[in-house]
């Protein structure tokens, strides 16, 4: 993200925060709102949120950093969440994991240099009966093969 978008980002943060601040336990819904809109929670959103909820910046930062799902850097155009749990392991998940990392040329929590794909580990997508599984953005895929992943990657790259 460039500096020129920061103002509009701050407006998004302020809008969402003020709209949601009055509900009980508002912090997680606010963080979800921001991440849904911007793709991540920019570090400079922290003071705005802290102010609105009468929390310290450390409190807000502490919550953001506790949860795996919240990210503080912009994601790639698409995020691939790869399931690492036992059922997927029993159906070749470890080999698939190696293949995915090799094809993307990145490790977990990284984004491909062309900015198309971010890779995140997940511990179970509830798709254990169709292992191995992964999720692309909000779409779950089951019984994923190495070839299946390559086809998916091609689609993602072409759409980028």
């Amino acid at each position: 993200m460039t500096d020129s978008t920061t103002d509009s980002q701050q407006n998004v943060v302020r809008d969402i925060t003020s709209r949601m601040a009055n509900q009980p336990g508002a912090l997680l819904p606010i963080l979800h709102g921001i991440q849904d809109e911007l793709g991540y929670v920019p570090p400079d959103a922290v003071p705005t949120i802290a102010d609105a909820l009468n929390l310290s910046r450390a409190d807000v930062h502490g919550v953001i950093s506790f949860y795996h799902y919240f990210r503080t850097t912009p994601p790639g155009k698409h995020t691939v969440y790869l399931c690492r749990a036992e059922s997927c392991q029993s159906m070749g998940g470890v080999a698939l994991e190696a293949h995915v990392k090799q094809r993307l040329g990145i490790d977990y929590h990284e984004t491909t240099s062309d900015g198309v794909v971010s890779l995140e580990p997940m511990y179970c997508l509830g798709n254990c009966a169709c292992s191995p599984a992964l999720m692309v953005d909000k779409e779950v895929l089951g019984r994923v093969t190495a070839e299946g992943f390559d086809t998916l990657l091609k689609t993602l790259k072409e759409g980028a």
Binding site: L28, Y69, R143
Partner: protein, 515 residues
């Protein structure tokens, strides 16, 4: 006009159900055939998904697994009249995998349109609530107590006793919290209920509210289930519109409000006190107990925290009576358990059975053995904190006490099968790694122990100072078992030690009899 069913369940969609539904729409339009397409939940026969059903005069018939390219052929074969095709599975209710189940909690899953209140009502929905509205709170609690229902999230605490504590805790405000943070790997029955029959959960929570005098409910849903979120919100909106939620339930003057809150990928938030912290907008740190959440729960108020399946089992108990439910099962495990069969298995899926069915029956009679065709070497029951069981224990009945006697747990009813290519030392290492990634960090045995556990396992796998490290592993597990604040650190030794005890050869250790 024919009615065709194509599931909108996540797993069915993950195998192409969306494209199949689209292909059926397109093919019907091209052929000028009128049909009604219903997006139902999944019957749980995942080996046959995407499974397409058609209503015929003789009942529903099934075809599967269907891919988009099969659709023209299905039309040619006359599937709209239930005629035969290479993918025919026959009458749905006669498929043995389904026929031999005892579906109480999942009675409607896969049958109805999950967001159609009309469907829900015409399939015995909201009969439990109707009864509850005419009862005194204490009598509702008694019915649940009499049913013998125990928490299906894994801890198996008697639900009625928990409810009774909240009922008797005086407060101006109480809460019903549904734990829908189904983080245990190998489990998906909560997701299936939420995607396949969300009204049964909404009804169960409403009844819980009436039973203890709570007017606000929250469903804490994991972020990994976006499809369940959409479906739950559609169903909640429909329930509000029809007066089944809100200020005056069915005109009774009693109120209950319900909202879904989304987690953020922390496994530990499936622990009830960490979940409450998270709902309050904090880090998901486990709380000390006592006080119990039933006394000091959400925002400091008395709170029922129950798993999805526990709450979704309440409507049928209030409809047919606690005794009806209790008549299923064995020993102190009453009613039914939605068993989730996954991993390296030929026919994975959801099998709701009365307690007492054996692992072997589930793995072979239902599951058909391993998917790879190799021998099943181990199964992990009860999620990532559950023990691994070897073949010699496959005749164990699914019963809380029978599992406890083997130093194993039923947990949330997930079974993950592994064939003989599994390396159990790697699985033990993974259990420690998982605990290290997910520990909330509050207590030392879990926070530090899991990291040390990974290191010890690495040394064992590398065969460095082997005996000394095995001893250290057992000692570490003992500390985690006895010293952790919650089940995350406290039960990680279950998969680790069961792997070591039953499969010592994978750890390069001597067989137990030689030790």
């Amino acid at each position: 006009m024919a009615t065709v069913y194509v599931p909108r369940d996540s797993s069915a969609v993950s195998l192409g159900a969306e494209r199949v539904a689209e292909a059926i729409r397109r093919e019907a339009a091209q052929r000028g055939v009128e049909l009604k397409l219903v997006r139902n939940g999944s019957r749980g026969l995942y080996w046959a998904e995407p499974m397409v059903e058609v209503s015929t005069v003789a009942g529903r018939v099934a075809y599967g697994p269907v891919q988009p390219q099969d659709v023209p052929g299905l039309f040619d074969a006359g599937f709209l009249e239930g005629k035969s095709h290479a993918l025919s599975l026959g009458a749905t209710e006669e498929i043995l995998y389904l026929k031999n189940q005892e579906r109480l909690t999942n009675a409607r899953v896969g049958i109805t349109d999950p967001v159609s209140l009309e469907d829900y009502l015409s399939h015995d929905g909201y009969r439990g609530l109707k009864n509850a509205l005419a009862m005194q709170p204490a009598d509702i609690v008694k019915e649940v107590t009499d049913s013998g229902l125990r928490g299906r999230g894994g801890a198996a605490f008697p639900t009625g006793i928990k409810w009774n504590t909240v009922l008797n805790a005086p407060s101006d405000q109480k809460y019903i919290v549904c734990n829908a943070d189904e983080g245990d790997s190998g489990t998906f029955s909560d997701r299936m209920i939420m995607e396949g029959d969300p009204f049964v959960l909404i009804e169960g929570m409403t009844i819980a509210g009436l039973a203890v005098g709570a007017t606000q409910g929250y469903i804490y849903l994991r972020v990994e289930y976006p499809n369940a979120l959409t479906i739950l919100n559609e169903a909640i909106a429909a329930a509000y519109r029809a007066g089944y939620l809100g200020q005056s339930l069915c005109g009774s003057g009693k109120s209950f409000d319900l909202e879904v809150r989304v987690g953020a990928g922390a496994y530990v938030c499936g622990e009830e006190t960490a979940l409450l912290e998270s709902l309050e907008g904090k880090r998901g740190l486990v709380r000390f107990k006592p006080p119990l959440p039933a006394i000091v729960g959400l925002f400091g108020k008395p709170t029922i925290v129950n798993n999805v399946i526990s709450l979704a089992s309440v409507p049928i108990i209030l409809d047919k009576g606690g005794t009806h439910y209790r008549d299923f099962g064995m020993g102190r495990s009453r009613g039914t358990l939605p068993i989730q069969l996954a991993g390296n298995i030929k026919r994975p899926g959801l099998i709701e059975k009365a307690f007492g069915v054996t692992l072997r029956e589930i793995l072979y009679d239902y599951g058909g053995g391993s998917a790879s065709g190799r021998p099943i070497r181990a199964v992990q029951v009860g999620g990532p904190l559950g023990a691994f069981l070897p073949e010699s224990q496959f005749d164990t009945p699914l019963d809380y006490e029978a599992f406890a006697a083997l130093w194993a747990v039923l947990g949330h009813g997930g079974i993950v099968a592994f064939d003989d290519t599994v390396d159990m030392a790697r699985m033990a290492r993974y259990a420690m790694e998982f605990c290290a990634a997910e520990s909330c960090g509050k207590c030392t045995p879990c926070r530090i122990g899991s990291t040390r556990g990974v290191e010890v396992m690495d040394r064992i796998i590398a065969n460095r100072e082997h005996d000394k490290n095995l001893l250290l592993l057992r000692d570490l597990c003992d500390t985690m078992l006895g010293g952790s604040l919650c089940a995350l650190g406290g039960m990680t030794p279950y998969p680790v030690l069961s792997a070591l005890n039953h499969f010592p050869e994978d750890f390069g250790a001597a067989k137990p009899e030689a030790a």
